[in-house]
């Protein structure tokens, strides 16, 4: 039996090695995929973080609020702020036109007298709160100045997330200016009430800045691991490519049927399982090799292009187990598709579309946490999701073997189920 299995493995390996197009699909294409997708996603990431969102600002205020917003956005790394358009000082009309032409993603118009309006408003509120001789009169006569409108011109192509970032920044700057003015007004009012020798509090606003925040990633990986496009994309697209083995594997099963080899093999004293096992062993090895090559992209090639190096986490054994489980799951799925399909075309279409669907559902394209609730529930049914969770557990959270056991067991069970289905279908198809 072992000799037959060895012969089957040898035959499968030779056929695979002689299929140049098949080899390129199995090895070169996935490497290119990982490289391109990571570069694309990284450059999208950089366009926000490094180059920044192009913004034109029309400052009709020329006072504290206008200056604060301008400087705040300028130093925020989020944006590239300009106050002129084609060499001319920006006006509301020019800004609207420039945004509609796509020269800027967002145009911000700060109206004239905005700071003054804030000051007046705050002043009235502070006065009403402070004790004075005309206390009762002031309090009853308080009226807040009409609100001022900061106008935002938005290019329709702007992503909602970009816009949210800008508006949050604007709210923050306005709030800071308001608070500053309020503190200043309060200080002045208090100073008037103090005895002459007593000093009024100075820099009161600055002293209130006691709460800061620090971002710490909840990962067991030692060192400064910052999740980036490489950490997210390399495992995701590696899994995608590993599952794409379904197409050549199902194609190889169909080819054997069409070329008559299966017919001959069925007349021989060798079981279907033994023949399929030869394929499974070869394609599992191919998957493992694919994984190694794609890791080399993350470890060697992407850093050469200026991207961060892939951090593999703490457990090489864990990586081996998840990769092996993913390889078996992908191979089992390929055998099932190849057994169900009646033609090579059918196998290719069913294989590729189902993998696209399972990868989308599994969170390979869009993180599952931003999916609607129903989709989040469905996504946990995708084997690609189990594989992705396994790799994220190792690469991002720095877990060990225990952390990936659940996902690995699920993937191995998926392999057993697909093989059982394939075997049953094969039996039904032969029982004509």
């Amino acid at each position: 039996m072992w000799y037959k299995l060895f012969a089957s493995i040898k035959k499968e390996t030779i056929i695979l090695l002689r299929d140049k197009i098949g080899l390129s699909i199995l090895f070169i294409m996935p490497m290119v995929l990982v490289l391109v997708m990571t570069l694309v996603q990284d450059s999208a990431f950089k366009s926000i973080n490094e180059r920044g969102i192009p913004i034109v600002i029309v400052d009709n205020d020329h006072d504290t609020l206008g200056i604060s917003i301008k400087l705040g956005l300028h130093y925020s790394k989020l944006c590239v702020v300009s106050d002129s358009i084609d060499g001319k000082p920006a006006t509301a009309e020019l800004a609207k036109q420039a945004v509609s032409q796509g020269k800027f993603l967002v145009g911000i118009v700060i109206p004239k007298g905005a700071t003054e309006a804030v000051r007046k408003n705050v002043g009235q509120l502070v006065s009403s709160a402070m004790p004075s001789d005309e206390d009762s009169l002031t309090k009853t006569n308080v009226h807040v100045t009409d609100s001022i409108n900061i106008v935002l011109f938005i290019d329709p192509v702007t992503k909602k997330s970009f816009l949210t970032s800008i508006t949050s920044n604007l709210h923050e700057f306005i709030s800071i200016v308001k608070t500053k003015i309020m503190f200043q007004t309060f200080s002045e009012q208090i100073a008037e009430l103090m005895p002459e020798n007593t000093k009024a509090p100075k820099n009161a606003f600055a002293k209130t800045q006691i709460i800061n925040y620090k971002e710490v990633y909840a990962s067991n990986i030692i060192g400064e691991l910052v999740p980036n496009a490489v950490q997210h994309n390399v495992p995701a697209w590696t899994i995608f490519a590993m599952f794409f083995i379904v197409i050549p594997l199902a194609g190889s099963i169909m080819k054997e049927k069409n070329e008559g080899s299966v017919f001959r093999l069925h007349t021989m004293p060798s079981s279907y399982l033994l023949l399929i096992n030869g394929k499974i062993i070869v394609y599992v090895c191919v998957c493992m090799l694919q994984f190694l090559l794609m890791m080399s992209v993350g470890l060697v090639f992407l850093p050469m292009l200026g991207l961060p190096v892939l951090v593999l986490g703490n457990s090489l054994l864990g990586i081996f187990i998840v990769t092996l489980a993913t390889s078996f799951a992908a191979t089992g799925y390929g055998v099932m598709v190849g057994t169900i399909a009646s033609t090579e075309q059918q196998a290719a279409i069913v294989g590729s579309l189902s993998i696209l669907l399972l990868s989308a559902l599994g969170g390979l394209w869009v993180p599952t946490y931003i999916m609607p609730e129903l989709m989040r529930h469905i996504s946990v049914l995708s084997p690609l999701n189990w594989a992705l969770e396994g790799f994220y557990e190792l690469f991002l959270r720095g877990s060990g073997v225990i952390g990936i056991l659940d996902e690995s067991i699920k993937l191995f069970i998926f392999f057993i189920i697909t093989m059982t289905i394939a075997s049953l279908i094969n039996r039904v198809k032969r029982n004509i």
Binding site: K11, I15, E259, T267, I432
Partner: protein, 250 residues
């Protein structure tokens, strides 16, 4: 001396799923050891169905088949060990060389090492393929493919060899070599069950012939017996046409 049957078929029927009419209708016959048994019939007569059942590719609907004392259905793996099947279509891996194909198929019959190597080289030489043995099968002519197709089924020297139109689409030279070596194989003790549309070939090659039509055996005997007992027939082709009529078949 009375020959011993190696295959006994009793009331064999086969109705394919979704079909109203049976492809094989209660067929009973036996094949003796060392016979070259020709199963002849027009297209759709049921020849390939009977051979496929005997090779255990699919089960019969009813009936009993005993092959070399073993019952089909109970002893499939033992039966597969003693049979060889040359399918009608070429069943080889085009991207493998002739030698690699033979090595793989030989291994599937349990042959290995020097024995397998020796048998491969022997048959390659006999069928004139030694020089082309390291070429991929995809580069072979139809006749060469047929010859490799045959070798792949006889490497393990089967007791029973099923041949489904083994010489279809090959030139006279290849056909002669194939028939010559099949005859030699038969002399060494292999029983041959053969289907063909070449009546002249069958007349000279077969020791026993059964003509089948519409899923039933019409007649059976040696080619000479059939020629002499069928009126207005001087050869097997005339016997065939007289018994199965001249109407075109699908």
């Amino acid at each position: 001396m009375k020959s011993e049957p190696i295959i006994e078929i009793k009331n064999l029927t086969k109705t394919f799923k979704g079909s109203d009419e049976a492809a094989v209708k209660g067929v009973s016959f036996s094949i003796n050891k060392n016979d070259i048994f020709g199963l002849l019939g027009p297209n759709g007569a049921g020849k390939t169905t009977i051979i496929s059942i005997l090779c255990s590719l699919f089960p019969p609907t009813t009936g009993k088949v005993i092959i070399d004392g073993m019952t089909l259905g109970n002893d499939i793996s033992s039966i597969k060990q003693i049979i060889g099947v040359v399918p009608q279509d070429i069943a080889l891996y085009p991207s493998l060389t002739a030698r690699e194909n033979l090595h793989f198929y030989g291994s599937m019959y349990g042959l290995k090492g020097a024995e397998l190597k020796h048998k491969i080289e022997d048959w390659l030489l006999k069928l004139g393929l030694t020089d082309a043995a390291n070429r991929r099968v995809s580069t072979f002519s139809g006749g060469m493919k047929r010859r490799v197709n045959l070798i792949a089924s006889i490497l393990h020297q089967p007791k029973i060899l099923f041949l489904d139109e083994p010489t279809v689409g090959v030139d006279v030279q290849s056909r002669n070599v194939i028939i010559e070596h099949l005859t030699e194989l038969n002399k060494q003790g292999t029983t041959i069950i053969y289907t063909s549309h070449h009546m002249e070939e069958a007349e000279h090659f077969c020791t026993q012939v059964a003509i089948i039509d519409n899923g039933k055996i019409i007649t059976q005997g040696t080619p000479q017996e059939l020629i002499s007992k069928t009126p207005n027939s001087t050869n097997l082709e005339q016997v065939f046409l007289n018994l199965t009529n001249r109407k075109l078949r699908d």
